[in-house]
C-alpha cells in the first residue's frame, strides 16, 4: 500500500524519537517499503556538523544504522534551509514531493497553548501534505 515512507528526524534529539522510528520501521516491514530519513539544518555550523556535508554524512550514518537495526531498506535526505527555525514546515512539505514519499511518519509533541499561534510541524504537514501522515505522540 505504501512504498516510500518519509520520517523527519531531529538528530539533536534522536534519543527521543524511539516510538516514531519503531512505528515507521514496523510499517516498512509490513508493506515492504523504503524509509527515507529527512533532516533539516542551517548552513551555519551546528552541533550536528560543521558543514552541510558533515551534517549529511551524519544523517547517512543514522539511516544506515536504522537499516541494520531494523532490517529495512533506508535512505537519507539532508536539506539545508536558510532559516531552519522558520522554514521547517515548508521544507518538510517540499521534501515529501522531492523524494516522492507516499506516507509520512513523524513524532509530534503533546498539544500545548502555543499550537494556537504556531501549528506543530506534524499538524502543518497533516493539514497540507497530499499523502497520509501518521503522527506519533512523544
Amino acid at each position: 500500500m505504501f512504498t516510500h515512507i518519509m520520517v523527519p528526524v531531529d538528530l539533536a534529539h534522536a534519543e527521543k524519537l524511539g516510538r516514531s522510528l519503531k512505528c515507521a520501521a514496523d510499517l516498512a516491514r509490513h508493506w515492504g517499503s523504503k524509509i527515507t530519513y529527512v533532516g533539516v539544518s542551517g548552513a551555519a555550523p551546528g552541533a550536528l556538523g560543521h558543514t552541510p556535508a558533515e551534517f549529511s554524512a551524519r544523517l547517512a550514518r543514522f539511516a544506515a544504522a536504522q537499516s541494520e537495526l531494523e532490517g529495512i531498506k533506508t535512505g537519507h535526505h539532508a536539506v539545508i534551509a536558510h532559516d531552519p527555525s522558520s522554514d521547517l514546515n515548508k521544507v518538510l512539505l517540499k521534501a515529501v514531493r522531492d523524494i516522492g514519499a507516499d506516507m509520512v511518519v513523524m513524532e509530534s509533541h503533546l498539544p500545548k497553548a502555543t499550537d494556537y499561534i504556531w501549528a506543530s510541524h506534524g499538524g502543518f504537514l497533516a493539514e497540507h501534505a497530499g499523502v497520509s501522515v501518521m503522527l506519533v505522540r512523544a
Binding site: 548552513a43 535526505h77 504556531w118
Partner: protein
C-alpha cells in the same frame, strides 16, 4: 524511485580548512521549557545580557540626571580624545578591504571552494543595505549635504587662534560651487567606503570563521586565532555580551528617536498629534510588523520587506532625479565622485587637522556609531553571504553600497541645494532634521504621494533594522545556533520595543545612545585584530587548496 542519498545539499562544499577544536556548538546551551515555550539559550550569555540590559534601563530611568551626566560627558570625551584612533582605524579597514579585492586571497570562497550563494544578488544586496544604512539615508540624505554645504560656504572663523566654525577642511568661503563640491565630499566620506569597510571587516571575519572554519556563527568565533580555546570561556562571553548590549541598545535608542521623527512626518502629512501616545503607538506598530517578519523568517519576512523597501527607495530616487533638476543632478553626481576622490585623503587624515569641529563632532562621532553597529550589521551580512568569494563579497559590501550612497546623497542633497541656490528656497534649511526630506519633496510635484512613500520607507527601514537585529541577538544568545526555537526571537523583538518605549516615556534615550557609542572604542580595537585574524584565516584557506 529517486535515489535520495545526497539530495538537498546545495553542492559539494569542496576544500575548506576547518579549525580543530574540542568545543561542540551548543555545549553550553540550556534547553528548557518555560510554560508552553521551549528555550535553547547559551549560558551565561543570554541571562547576563538580559539582566544587564534591564539594570541599565532601570539606572537610566531611576537616576536620569546622573546617567545623563555620566554618559553625556563620555561621548564628547571619547570622540575628541580618540579622534585620531577612530580615523586611523577607519582608514586601515578601507585599505585592508581594497587589498583583499586585488590580492589572491580574494579568490577564497565563503563556505568552501564549491559552495554556492544562498541568495541572488538583488535579495542579498537589499538585505544588507536595509539592515546597514537604509534608515540613515532617509534622515541625512537631505540634511547632511545641506549642512556641510552651509558651513563650507560660511568659511573659517577663529577665536583666540582656535577654529569655531564647523566647515570641513579649509571650507570654501563665498565660493558656491566649491562649497557644493566640498559639502558633497564631506558627506560622502561619512557614508561611503569607510562605514562599509567597517561592516565588511566584521562580516567577513564572521562568515570566514563560521562557514569555512566550522566555528559557531557568533562574534567570539572571529577571535579564535587570537585567544584560542579561551574564546569559549569568559573572554568569549564578554565579547558576545558586549555585542548583544550594543545591538539591543543601538536598536532601541534608534527606534525611540525614529518614532519621534516618524511622528513629526506623520504630523506634517496627516496631522497625527505629536506626543508620547503617538510615539508609543508607532513603536508598537513597528515592533508588531517586525515580529511578523522575524517569525516568517529570513526568506519569508526579512528578505521580502528589504526587497519591497529597496524597490520603493529606487522609485523615489528615480522620481526626484527625473522631476528635480535632472541635468544638474547628473553633473553633481559626477562632480561628487571627483570631489570625494580629491578630498578623501585630507578628510581622512587622523593628525594635523585644523577643522576639529568637523573632525570630532562629525567624523569621529560617525565612526564610533558605525563601529558600535558593526557587530549587528556585520553578523547579519555574514548570515546571508555564504557562497560568495571574498572578492565578490568586498565589492558588493564595500564598493556598490558606497556608489549607491553617492548617488542617493547627490540626488537628494543636490536637489535641496539646487532649490536653495537657484530658487532661493529656505524651507529645507530652516526645517528640523526629521522634516528636511519632506520639505524638499514639498517643492516637487506630487508631494503628497512622494511624502507618503517617504514615510512608508522610514517605517519599513525601521522594521528591517528591528527584525534583522532580533535575529542577530537571538543567534548570539543561542551560542551561534541558527535553529533555536522561534519564541526566543519573538522575545528579543518585543524586548527591544519595550526598552524603546520605557526610555521614550521615562527619558534616558540620549544617555543610553551615548553609552552605545562608547562601545565603538573597544570594538574599533577589536576590528583591527579582526583584520589580522582574517588574513591568517584566508592564508590557511589558500594553503589548503
Amino acid at each position: 524511485m529517486a535515489d535520495t542519498s545526497d539530495q538537498g545539499i546545495p553542492a559539494p562544499e569542496g576544500t575548506a580548512d576547518i579549525i580543530d577544536t574540542d568545543y561542540e556548538i551548543g555545549q553550553d546551551n540550556i534547553e528548557t521549557q518555560i510554560g508552553p515555550f521551549g528555550l535553547d539559550v547559551h549560558n551565561p550569555v543570554f541571562s547576563i545580557s538580559g539582566l544587564c540590559i534591564v539594570a541599565f534601563v532601570f539606572y537610566a530611568l531611576a537616576l536620569p540626571e546622573q546617567a545623563e551626566a555620566v554618559f553625556g560627558a563620555l561621548r564628547p570625551w571619547l570622540t575628541s580624545t580618540f579622534d585620531w584612533f577612530f580615523l586611523g582605524a577607519g582608514n586601515i579597514f578601507v585599505i585592508f578591504c581594497l587589498f583583499l579585492i586585488v590580492s589572491p586571497l580574494g579568490s577564497v570562497r565563503l563556505g568552501g571552494a564549491d559552495a554556492r550563494p544562498d541568495y541572488t544578488y538583488i535579495g542579498w544586496f537589499a538585505m544588507l543595505f536595509a539592515a546597514g544604512m537604509g534608515i540613515g539615508l532617509m534622515f541625512y540624505g537631505v540634511s547632511e549635504p545641506m549642512s556641510h554645504f552651509g558651513t563650507s560656504l560660511g568659511g573659517v572663523t577663529e577665536e583666540g587662534g582656535v577654529r569655531t566654525d564647523w566647515a570641513p577642511l579649509g571650507g570654501a568661503a563665498g565660493d558656491e560651487a566649491g562649497a557644493v563640491r566640498l559639502g558633497m565630499a564631506a558627506t560622502i566620506y561619512h557614508w561611503g567606503l569607510h562605514p562599509w569597510g567597517m561592516y565588511a571587516v566584521v562580516a567577513l571575519a564572521l562568515a570566514l570563521f563560521s562557514y569555512n572554519k566550522g566555528l559557531p556563527l557568533t562574534i567570539r568565533s572571529a577571535f579564535y586565532p587570537i585567544f584560542g580555546e579561551r574564546v569559549w570561556g569568559w573572554t568569549g562571553h564578554i565579547i558576545d555580551i558586549l555585542a548583544v548590549f550594543a545591538t539591543l541598545f543601538g536598536l532601541a535608542t534608534s527606534l525611540g528617536y525614529g518614532a519621534t521623527q516618524a511622528n513629526a512626518g506623520l504630523n506634517l502629512l496627516f496631522g497625527l498629534p505629536i506626543g508620547t501616545t503617538s510615539e508609543v503607538l508607532l513603536i508598537t506598530g513597528i515592533t508588531a510588523i517586525a515580529l511578523i517578519s522575524v517569525v516568517r523568517g529570513l526568506d519569508g519576512g526579512v528578505k521580502i520587506l528589504s526587497e519591497i523597501n529597496m524597490g520603493l527607495a529606487f522609485l523615489l530616487l528615480l522620481f526626484v532625479l527625473i522631476v528635480g533638476p535632472t541635468a544638474a543632478l547628473l553633473a553633481l553626481f559626477w562632480d561628487s565622485i571627483v570631489a570625494y576622490g580629491q578630498n578623501i585623503l585630507p578628510l581622512s587624515m587622523p593628525f594635523g587637522r585644523e577643522d576639529t569641529n568637523y573632525m570630532q563632532g562629525w567624523t569621529s562621532f560617525y565612526w564610533a556609531w558605525w563601529i558600535s553597529w558593526s557587530p549587528f550589521v556585520g553578523m547579519f551580512i555574514a548570515r546571508v553571504s555564504r557562497g560568495r568569494t571574498v572578492r565578490e563579497f568586498i565589492i558588493c559590501v564595500l564598493l556598490i553600497p558606497s556608489f549607491v550612497c553617492i548617488l542617493w546623497m547627490s540626488v537628494f542633497g543636490g536637489t535641496a541645494i539646487t532649490q536653495f541656490l537657484q530658487d532661493g528656497v529656505t524651507s529645507v534649511q530652516n526645517a528640523p532634521l526629521e522634516l528636511k526630506l519632506f520639505r524638499m519633496l514639498a517643492e516637487l510635484p506630487l508631494a503628497s504621494i512622494t511624502s507618503f512613500i517617504g514615510i512608508i520607507l522610514v517605517i519599513v527601514f525601521f522594521v528591517t533594522s528591528s527584525d534583522s537585529g532580533s535575529l542577530v541577538i537571538d543567534t548570539i544568545t543561542a551560542g551561534g545556533k541558527v535553529d533555536a526555537p522561534l519564541p526566543q526571537r519573538v522575545f528579543w523583538c518585543i524586548f527591544e520595543g519595550a526598552v524603546a518605549i520605557a526610555l521614550l516615556i521615562g527619558g534616558g534615550l540620549a544617555s543610553l545612545q551615548a553609552m552605545v557609542l562608547s562601545t565603538g572604542l573597544p570594538f574599533a580595537a577589536i576590528l583591527l585584530l579582526m583584520c589580522w585574524a582574517i588574513t591568517r584565516g584566508l592564508m590557511s584557506e589558500r594553503a589548503q587548496r
